[in-house]
Every structure is written in C-alpha cells, then in structure tokens.
Symmetry: C3
Subunit: 345 residues, 3 copies
C-alpha cells in the first residue's frame, strides 16, 4: 500500500513470523503460513494485508474489514469478521509498530559527503555518516558515526552530535551537545540565545546566555520546534523525550526522561519537568515551575503553579482535572441557561 | 505607492478599464478617462490613486479620503467625499484584489538553474522552471513546468510538484505529492514522520509512518507551517485550501476543499475537515474528529467533539457559538461581581 | 563555568572593576581586589565566581550559596551568607547582565565571504561583514557594515539590512528594510505575502500584498518567528522590540517601540501596539485593534477589543486583569463545588 516512490517493502512474511517477532498469539484456526505482504488501514486492507484495532472508534470498521489479518486486544477478538486471522495482544499499537517496522525497515545510512557541503577543516565527522547537499558544519564540531545530516542543515561551531543521530533538512543547531540515536526533524532551531534581558525604563539590556542545550539519547524533536540555550545552567532534554512540531522550550528548562510534548505546546524558562510528563497540544507552562513525574497537562491548559507527581490538570489557569471537568460542566449549564433567568441572579 | 525595490507597477490605467475588468459600476459623474496609477490606503491615497472600503471601521477615513477613486459597496456610496470617483460593487475587497493584481502583476517565472543548486541526475524538472541558489532536489523527484523553487529549498527523493507551483526559501518537502499552482511559503516543512509511537511502561516504540502528504491544486501554505505525512493513509490538503503561518497539521488529517486555517492553529491526527471549514487563529482540534462542511471554529477554541456542518463553535472546550457567547456574558458578570457578594453564594 | 567550546572568557576581573562598570555598591568588608573569574548560578558558584539574586524563589539558594560574590538588591543584602561579597544595586538582573557581558564579550565579526555563498552582482555588501556558507543574497539587496549573515540564510532581492545586524542560519528575508544592530535568529521568515484574500462562494482571490516589513533599529526576533509583509501599508516593528520564538505577526501590524512579544503569541492583521506593550506567551490579539502604550496582555489571553494605555488584561476573551482574577476565583469555587449541590442551582 505504501507508495514505492518513498517506501521499500521487505515483505511478504508469514503470519507465523509476525507472531514470533511480536510475541502476539495467533488466533485459533488462522493459517500460520499465510503470507502478509503489507500493512493497511482497516477499511482498505485486503486479504494479503494486516491491520490493527487500537481505538474503539474504529470497531465498526474492524467488523467490516477485509483484512487478511489484524492485531487486536483479547477482549475485542470475538468481534472479528469471519476468516480474519488475528494476532492477539494486550498492546495492539505497539505490536503493529513492530510489524510495520519489519515490513518497512529504515533506509540504511551510507557514508557520503556531498560536494556542495561546507565542512570546516577543524570539524570531525565519524565513519558511515552521510552529509547532504549544502550542509554547513562549523569549526570544532564533532559528528558521530552513522549519522545522517539532511540537506542545508547548519551545524554550528563546537556542536557535538552522537552516533546514529539524524538531522533534518534546514535544521539549525548551535551551542548544543546532542546524544546518540536522536531524530531532529526539518527546520528545528536549537541553541539560540534565550529570551533573557533586563527590562527597565532605560530600555532592555541583553543578558549573555552562557549555557548550552543538552539533548540526551533517543530524543525526537519535531519540525520547526525551537529550543533555546541556557542562560548559565544548561537547557536539558532528557533521554527518550518525544517533542512534536512547533514546540517552544525556553532557556534553562529541564525535561526529565521520556517526556512527551505535543504540537504547539511551550515551556517557559527555568521550568523543570520530571520524568514521563505529558504536555498535550497547545498547552503552556509558565517559568520557574516543577512539574512532577508522570503529570499530565491537558491540551490548551495554562499551567501557572507546580504540579505534583502523577496529577492531571486542565484549564487555563490549570486546576486538577476533576475540578476542571466539574467547572466545564458548570460552563455548559451557564451556556445553555435561558436569558430570562438573568434577573434572578 | 508600492516600493519600486520590490514591486513593478504596470499602470496607469483609465477608470473605464478598471470598471471593465472588475465588473464594478462607475459612479455617475466620474470621468471614465481619469488615470489611476496606483492603489493606496484611504488615509494616504491621492487623486491618482484608488482605494477601497470593506470594513465599517474605516468609514471615517473614507469620508475624509483624498483618493481619486474608491471601490465601495452600494449602501456606502453616498458617504463618499465630493469629487471621489466610485467603483460600486457588492464585493469591494474582491474587486480591489483584481485591480491591484492588474496594476502589479506577478513577476513572470523564467527558466533558470543556479549553479549552486544540487539537482539529482535522476530528478525531472519541467520547462520554464526556476531553481534558486542552494536548492537541493533529490532522486526521482519530479518538478513540473513553470515552477519557482526558492533559494535553499530542499525537495526530497521522489517528491512530485505540479506545474506553476512556487516553493519558498528554506522550505523542506519530503514524502509528498503537490498539485499545480500552489504556493508553499518560506520555511514550511512537509512530510516529516507523524508523531506516532506506542507508549507503555517499557518506553516508546516508533510506528513507521508509511503514508504521504497529498497537497491538491491551488493550495497556499504559510511560512514555517508543518504538515506531517500519514501513518498509512495519506495526509490530504484539499484543493484551494488557505493555510496561514505556523499552523500544525498532524498525520492522517484530511482537509476538504477551500478550508481556511488561520495562523498558529493546529489539527491533531486523523481528524477530517469537510469542505470550506474555517479554523481561526490559535484554535486547536483534537484527533479523530469530523468537522462538518462550512463549520467555523473561533479563535483559540479547543474542539474536542465532532462539529456538525455549518455550525460555529467557540471556547475551550468548544461549544455552539451562541452558548459560548452566553457563557462569556456570564463570565463578565462574574468578573465584575463585588467581593462582598461572596458570603451569599 | 561556560563551556569553552562555545564561549571565551575575558576574565578574571577584580570586584572593584565590576563595581565600577555597573555602578553597584560593594558591600562593607568585601575585598575590592578579590578576583572573579566567572559567573555561575547560586547553587553551583564557588568563591571565584559571581552570581545574582533577582527572584525571591531563589532566596534559600542565596543563603546557602558558596559564591564569592553576588549581585543583590539592598533589602536582601542582610540575608547573605558569611564571607560573600555583595554588589548592591536596585537592579540586580541588569547589573548582572553587564558583568556577564564584560566577562563574555560577543565574538567580533570579521569580514569574510564563504566561497559557497551566492551574492548577486548587483547586491551591495558593506565592509567588515561576514557572509556564511550557502548564503543567498539577491539582486539589489544592500547589506550594511559589520553584519553577520548566518549559514544558508536567504536575503531576497532589494532587501536592506543596516549596520551591525546579525541574521541567523536558515532565516529567510524578503520585502523588508531592516535597521541597524538587530538580531534576527535562525529560521525566521520575514516578508511573506500576508494572509490576504477575498472569500466568497466563487472561491478565493488573492489580494496582492504590496507593502513591506520595516524592522527598526535594535530589534530582536526569535527563532522560527514569522512576520508577513503589509498589504499596502507596511508592517512595522518598532525600535527595540523584543520578539521571542514562534511568534506570528500579521500583515499591516504596527508595533511601537520596545514592545515585548513572548513565545508563540500572535498579532492579527492591521492591529497596532503602541510603545512598550507586553504580550505574554501564547496570547493572541485579533485584527484591527489598538493596544495602548504599556498595556500588558497575560499569557494565553485572547484580546478581542482595544486595550487602553497601561491596562493589564487576561482571559479569553480578555478582560481587565482584576476582573479576570475575580472570575478565576469564581471558577475555582465552581471546580470545587460538590456534585450534590447541583440540584440546588
């Protein structure tokens, strides 16, 4: 199904093999030697393709699907249409991810340096790294092994990039130390001076921003997101963080491990997120706060105070999610209240 | 009035000609042979220039304007100052657009390929296309005829671009099929992998994103906006959509024809907008929803549920606009309520 | 403390000298000949380093700090630990900024033009300007003296840039006149056509955008921000404005002097901000408004009406901040109200 202009399929594979690599259980009656050549959505898959069901919104599509096989959780297995083989697992999306990666492995990176790239003589580039057209790599920069540096990306003086990290087209990195196996997407800007200045009636005085951005291993940063360098302490993006597109991270921010920041969210300066915090889309966190481990900040929430570990908050200004839900119920009643009630207020 | 550094004026033209090309009616007493050499705002226009009135906020400026001519709707024609020629039409802004385009036609694109551009030998480039400095065009990419590819833009392997489409400076396109006569502005990122991963206590597993971005004809995409490729199905931007700056479109999103997405709005994954939906600035739509034809989402609204065709919604979480307006009235009362009322609650 | 990969320290300096350049008062008993070699945060500074205290959140860190010296306001001086020298001033952050700039002066710009840059023969470039790899400078552009143009930046035809201005990597400038001593960060897009089109049932008609962007002197524009050119009048960014990352400025917007726009905020078309307006993060201002001198718009606020000079507003839609605070108190009560109260409403 995937467009061969862009994706090369390594399949087909037998169902038996897909069950093995994922640890899912093959449903009774399914033919373990049936061949699966591709992945496809429930509504378009044919009998040579495998799909998955992870969201009950798509239950009807599942029951009508022509897919030859489907990854599904045990409690929905009995809703499958006749003749569909099932890979049964408590984590269908994760299991589907492994199958799709098996069918469509990532392109290997091969060592190359485009003639139009400008690599400073004092920069180091590891073996097996691919440097695209128009790339600029500054003095004393250190690029690891097996990296892919996309066309027209700019790697500033002294920047360090770990092994296996991929940098997207037109990304701009400066004043940063990036770990291994990261994926920095197109247009990302890392290391610009933070928004630090003294304000008073005489005008603004820029405060030198003398920190760096530390991006730990296995981090993903989405297109056109911006991460400012620290003012003195560093800005730190913890290992395994997933940052979506158009996200703003201010100076001195510290993200723990495995935080998820969805598109267009923003974290103001000097705020610290402990491990595994989730910041939903368009949410904002003001500066100098601590957001506890595993906290969840709802979409468009505006967080003005510390959030304890594990707490979910919503609203602007944000409050505990149960209170916010009650407030929203109250808003709905107010929105529906007849105007004639006004005099009684 | 326009700065000749940047814009070349094709005028002057006689009022008669401007009436003809727009279909507007020339006011009684106006001299059809009067020459108009330029467009200008109401407050600065002189008697050789034409202006327009489309917003009643500017009615006072209209009554005081020295403009030689003005495009105006019939019901405001009698407010014109003495001596001003009028082009009367029910659609003044549209009419003004045609006049301004007549005075300032777009620069023609002339075939060229800058010596610093890197065009893969296996890429195809149509006749009459201009390729700027530092452009990178990947293997098997296909660029149509009469396109303009701005400096340092990056067109990835296999990307297809239709005739007459213009790509801005530093834009990054990958995994996409773009129609004809589109305008993709500077810094836009199209085709990055969607924010798709399985989350569980063991960590994140990336889900291969095997779809594309399909941009249909006559689409405009504003500076630094980001559009992720589909996870399996494609992300689709319908014909004639107008997308402003810094807008985020998640994977698998489908926009119908003629949708308008204003700056800093965002659409989460797998949501579908039917034709002619308007999403105002900084609004957000959560994933897996359907927004009906012609629906209007107010600025900063947060849409968490399907919206029926034609409905206007506002607020976060969003509700029908009439309810939202009533809620806002209630908020205003609460904001003005004296503190001494508190004990009575 | 600053990483020598990225920053070169000009110190050490004696306390006496730091007091002189800042005008701060050295505390009684402090040794004016003590040498300070670096700046550092309160919690990590040692006795050869200077820190500052500007926010009472860090008062405890101050009382425990090992810093050799600290910049502090008079009223907190008596909280200093024994043996810490103090530079006492009513403006500690400003004073610290001067000290840090003295220790870490900006790299001087030296005249250079990378061989991979494409400079149109009809462009003018002033003396002492540095042009990085892959830069594209268009016909009739004029770059001043002592500028730094970052790698892969694109300067369009006719663009004017004043002396001492720095342009970041991958920035895209067109249709603009930029003043002196500005700092335009990486990925910024200036001068794209505004979001101007006539909408009606027959479709959209683009309205030619015939204005420019005027960026006055000493302006800072953060990474990946976007500023559209005017439709006829110019878009104007007043002298000394500070614009953070991912900010959107629509066509015809006029910012007065010294406005501050924090990350992810947006100003819609034709709105005017008078001098010294502060727009906090993720706030939005709708079009055609006037925001009075010194007004303050809270984070995530949605401003739909003119704001008088000096007024602070909050909320969406925005209201005077005192009313908004009262409303927020009311929301908190509603959020905490027990469900059993519902029947009594």
């Amino acid at each position: 199904m995937a467009d061969s202009r862009f994706f090369a399929c390594a399949g087909p594979f037998r169902l038996r093999e897909l069950a093995e690599i994922t640890g899912a259980e093959l449903s009774a009656g399914a033919d373990p030697d049936a061949e699966i050549g591709d992945v496809a959505p429930l509504d378009t898959a044919d009998r040579h393709q495998i799909s998955f069901l992870d969201n009950r919104r798509y239950l009807e599509a599942f029951t009508k699907s022509q897919a030859g096989a489907c990854v599904v959780m045990p409690e929905l297995a009995d809703r499958a249409p006749d003749g569909m083989a099932l890979l049964i697992t408590s984590k269908p999306y994760r299991c589907y991810a492994r199958i799709a990666s098996h069918l469509y492995p990532e392109d290997p990176v091969t060592q190359s340096r485009h003639t139009s790239a400008s690599v400073d003589p004092a920069a180091k580039v590891g073996p097996g790294t691919s440097i695209g057209p128009g790339v600029s790599i500054g003095a004393a920069a250190e690029i690891g092994a097996g990296c892919r540096i996309g066309a027209n990306a700019v790697i500033g003086d002294g920047v360090v990039i770990g092994d296996g990290t991929r940098i997207g087209a037109n990304a701009s990195l400066s004043y940063c130390i990036v770990g291994h196996d990261c994926e920095i997407h197109a247009g990302v800007c890392i290391g610009n001076r933070g928004f630090g200045f003294a304000m008073d009636p005489e005008g603004f005085v820029d405060v030198p921003q003398l920190g760096r951005v530390i991006v730990e291993d296995n981090v993903e940063i989405g297109a056109n997101s911006t991460i400012d360098r620290g003012a003195g302490p560093d800005t730190v993006i913890g290992a395994g963080c997933k940052i979506d597109n158009l996200v703003q991270i201010g100076h001195n921010v510290q993200l723990g491990r495995g935080c998820v920041l969805v598109a267009q969210s923003g974290i103001a300066g000097s705020t610290r997120l402990e491990d595994f915090v989730v910041v939903a889309a368009q949410a904002g966190v003001t500066g100098h706060l601590t957001i506890g481990r595993g906290a969840q900040l709802a979409a468009q929430s505006g967080v003005m105070r510390d959030v304890p570990p594990g707490q979910s908050v919503g609203g602007s200004p944000a409050m505990p999610i149960r209170e916010y839900m009650r407030l929203v119920s109250s808003w709905k009643r107010q929105g529906k209240a007849k105007v004639k009630d006004k005099p009684n207020e």
